[in-house]
C-alpha cells in the first residue's frame, strides 16, 4: 500500500483564524491516506478535527503547508476548478444529514451529478436508484426528507456522498445524531461500501466503538497529530 501514490497527502498544514489576534486551529499537521483505507479521526472537541476535514474537503484553504488530493494541488486552483475537483473527488456525510427538504430521496442523491453537469442524464438517475437500493431504501425513492427516520436520512446522505463514485468520502460525525441501533446500521453500511467497493473513508467521530472498528485511528490534540495507528 505504501508503494502506491497516496490518495491524500497533507504536509505541515497550519490553519489560523482571526485578524488582529490569530488563533491556530491546526499547528503543522501531516498525514497521508491511501486508497482503500478506512480511517477514524478522533480527538476532543476543539482539537481541530472539523478544521482539518474542511481543509481536506476543499471547503477552506490552509494558512500554510500543502495538500494534494488525488495527485492535484488544490491551492493553485480557481474557485470554479476547486468546486469541480470537490464534486468529482469527494463525497460528504455530515452529522446532520443535510438533505435538501424540497427534494425527494432520489432527487437528493441525483443532485451532485445533476448540479455539476447541468442536465439530468439517465445514467445519473440509474446510479442514484441503484445506490438507494443498495442502502435498503428502494421503497423510499420518492419520499421527502421529512418522511424518513433519522437512520434513513443518513443512509440517503451516504448514497448521495457516493453518487459520483468519489475516491474519498469524508464523514463528519455521521452517527453523532443517531440512536445506538441506527448508529450501528449506518456505520455498518459504510463499512460494507468500504469492503465491497473499496471506498476510502475518513470518519470524524467521538464514538470509541466506531473508531475501534476502523482500520486506522488518527488522534488529533490541540491542532497536532498525537497518534496515528494502523490495525
Amino acid at each position: 500500500m505504501a508503494e502506491t501514490p497516496p490518495l491524500l497527502e497533507v504536509v505541515d498544514v497550519v490553519k489560523e483564524y482571526g485578524e488582529s489576534v490569530r488563533t491556530a486551529a491546526l499547528r503543522g499537521v501531516s498525514l497521508t491516506l491511501h486508497a482503500g483505507e478506512m480511517a477514524a479521526l478522533i480527538g476532543p472537541s476543539g482539537s481541530g478535527k472539523s478544521t482539518l476535514l474542511h481543509l481536506i474537503g476543499l471547503l477552506d484553504r490552509p494558512t500554510a503547508g500543502s495538500l494534494r488530493l488525488n495527485g492535484q494541488d488544490p491551492t493553485t486552483l480557481s474557485e470554479p476548478a476547486l468546486a469541480a475537483l470537490r464534486g468529482r473527488s469527494l463525497g460528504f456525510v455530515f452529522q446532520f444529514h443535510h438533505l435538501l427538504p424540497a427534494f425527494t430521496a432520489l432527487e437528493n442523491v441525483m443532485l451532485p451529478a445533476f448540479g455539476d453537469e447541468g442536465r439530468l442524464s439517465a445514467e445519473t438517475r440509474a446510479r442514484a436508484t441503484a445506490l438507494l437500493t443498495a442502502v435498503g431504501l428502494e421503497e423510499k425513492l420518492h419520499a421527502r426528507a421529512n418522511q424518513l427516520s433519522g437512520g434513513q436520512k443518513q443512509r440517503v446522505a451516504i448514497a448521495r456522498a457516493l453518487s459520483r463514485n468519489p475516491p474519498l468520502v469524508l464523514a463528519d460525525e455521521p452517527t453523532g445524531n443517531l440512536d445506538t441501533v441506527a448508529s450501528h446500521e449506518v456505520f455498518e453500511l459504510m463499512r460494507r461500501f468500504h469492503r465491497e467497493r473499496g471506498v476510502t473513508f475518513l470518519v470524524v467521530t467521538h464514538d470509541p466503538r466506531i473508531a475501534d472498528r476502523c482500520d486506522r485511528v488518527i488522534e488529533i490534540v490541540d491542532g497536532r497529530i498525537a497518534r496515528d495507528e494502523r490495525r
Partner: protein
C-alpha cells in the same frame, strides 16, 4: 431537464405561501400599470381623435406677404423706417396641381386635398351669421376629415348649388335640409344655396361657422377662378406631422402648419399626463422590485445551508446565481400574466360602468398587444433585476460557513 430550472421551480413550488404572496404583489403592480396605461392611452387617443376629427394634420398656405423697403439704407445714409403690414388678401397657390402631385409622393403623407377657404356671412331672413366657406373636392376631403360619418342629417354631397353646414349654424339660422340660405362672401359675391346635409364634427367653432361647398363654387364665391388658397394633408403617424410639415414647407416654399403646432397646449397637457403615468409606473415598478428582492433575500437566507450543500457537492457558483435569477424572472413573468388579465378586467369594467348620456364610454380604454408585451417584458426584467442582489449573495456563499451556520 435543466438543473437550474428544476431547482428554481422546485424552490418556488416548495415555498408556496411566499410564492403566492409575491405573485399577488407582482400581479397587482402589473394590473395597475395595465389599467392606468389603458385608461390614459384611451383618453389621449380619444382627445386626439376628437381634435383631429375637425382639422387636417397639416395645412399649407401661401406665405404671408412681407413688406419690402422702398429705399435701402447705405453706410452714408441712415433711414428711419415705419413698417406697415399689408392686410392679407386671398391668394392662390401657384401651379397647385403640380404641388399636390409632389406632396402626394412625400413620405408619410396619406392624402392631399385642395381647398378654397374664406370668410363670409350666411343670411336667412332676419338672421345673419358669420361663416367660414370651405370649397373642397368631397372625395378627397373625406380622406382628410371623415365628414360622411359625422352627418346628423342629409348627405355629404356638396356641389351643384347645394352645401353641407354645421349643426350649430343650422340651429342658429333655423334651417334644415332642403332650405335655402344666402351666402355673402368678403369679396362681395353673393349666392343662394340649398342645404343638402348637416354635420356635427364635435367642435363648436367648426359646427357654428363651417359651410362646405364644392371647390368650383368656392372659387367663384371668392373670385379665384381655378385657384386654391390652401392644401390639406393627412399623415400616417399623427405625431410625425411636425416633421412632415417641415419637409413639405421645404419642398414647396409654402407656409406649413401642423396640428401639433396649432394644438401645442393640448400636446403639453398630453405630455404632462404621460409624465404622471410614467411616474406612477416608476413607483409601482420600484415597489414590485423591492417585493421580489425582499422575498428572494429571505429565501437565500433560509436556504443558505442548502446552497452550501449544493456548492460542497460541486455545483458551480454560476448555477446557484442562475437559480435565483430564474426565480426572479419567473415571478415577474407569471405575475405579469395574472396582472395583465386583472388589469384588462378592471379596465373593461371601468369602461362599461362609466358611461356618457349617449351610451358611449366616458373613459374609453385602449388595450393592445404592445401594452401587454411591454408590461410582461417590464415585469420580467424587473423580476430579473430584483433577483441580482440575492442571487449574487447566494452564489458567493462560502460552503463551509453556510453548512456550519445553516
Amino acid at each position: 431537464m435543466r438543473f437550474v430550472l428544476f431547482v428554481a421551480f422546485r424552490y418556488l413550488r416548495d415555498a408556496r405561501g411566499q410564492t403566492a404572496l409575491i405573485l399577488a404583489a407582482v400581479s397587482v403592480g402589473v394590473a395597475v400599470i395595465v389599467f392606468l396605461s389603458a385608461l390614459i392611452n384611451g383618453l389621449q387617443s380619444s382627445l386626439i381623435d376628437k381634435t383631429l376629427g375637425s382639422q387636417s394634420h397639416i395645412t399649407l398656405r401661401v406665405p404671408r406677404e412681407t413688406p419690402r423697403p422702398l429705399v435701402d439704407a447705405t453706410p452714408e445714409r441712415a433711414i428711419a423706417r415705419q413698417v406697415q403690414v399689408a392686410p392679407e388678401r386671398l391668394r392662390s397657390i401657384d401651379q397647385w396641381p403640380a404641388v399636390v402631385a409632389s406632396l402626394a409622393r412625400l413620405e408619410g403623407v396619406t392624402a392631399v386635398s385642395p381647398m378654397v377657404t374664406g370668410a363670409g356671412t350666411a343670411v336667412r331672413g332676419e338672421a345673419k351669421r358669420p361663416i367660414t366657406v370651405r370649397g373642397i373636392e368631397p372625395e378627397l376631403f373625406r380622406r382628410i376629415i371623415d365628414v360622411p360619418r359625422r352627418m346628423v342629417a342629409g348627405r355629404f354631397d356638396p356641389g351643384g348649388g347645394s352645401v353641407a353646414i354645421g349643426s350649430v349654424l343650422a340651429a342658429d339660422l333655423g334651417v334644415g335640409l332642403g332650405d335655402t340660405v344666402r351666402i355673402v362672401t368678403a369679396e362681395g359675391v353673393s349666392d343662394v344655396v340649398r342645404i343638402s346635409g348637416v354635420f356635427s364634427l364635435g367642435n363648436m367653432g367648426v359646427d357654428k361657422t363651417w359651410v362646405l361647398t364644392s371647390l368650383r363654387h368656392a372659387q367663384s364665391l371668392f373670385a379665384l377662378a381655378g385657384g386654391v388658397t390652401g392644401l390639406e394633408l393627412k399623415v400616417g403617424d399623427v405625431f410625425e406631422a411636425d416633421a412632415v410639415a417641415d419637409e413639405a414647407q421645404r419642398r414647396t416654399g409654402l407656409a406649413a402648419e401642423s396640428w401639433m403646432r396649432v394644438n401645442a397646449e393640448l400636446l403639453v397637457g398630453l405630455s404632462a399626463q404621460s409624465s404622471s403615468k410614467t411616474m406612477i409606473q416608476f413607483f409601482v415598478v420600484v415597489a414590485v422590485a423591492l417585493g421580489i428582492a425582499s422575498v428572494l433575500i429571505v429565501s437565500v437566507v433560509q436556504k443558505s445551508r442548502e446552497i452550501g450543500i449544493l456548492r460542497a457537492f460541486g455545483t458551480p457558483a454560476r448555477r446557484i446565481l442562475a437559480i435565483f435569477l430564474t426565480e426572479g424572472a419567473v415571478l415577474g413573468l407569471v405575475g405579469s400574466f395574472f396582472g395583465s388579465a386583472l388589469g384588462t378586467l378592471l379596465a373593461r369594467f371601468f369602461e362599461t360602468v362609466a358611461r356618457n348620456p349617449d351610451g358611449g364610454p366616458k373613459f374609453p380604454v385602449v388595450l393592445d398587444v404592445p401594452l401587454y408585451v411591454s408590461a410582461s417584458l417590464l415585469a420580467t426584467v424587473v423580476g430579473l433585476a430584483a433577483a441580482v442582489a440575492p442571487a449574487l449573495r447566494a452564489s458567493r456563499l462560502d460552503p463551509a460557513t453556510a453548512i456550519g451556520n445553516g
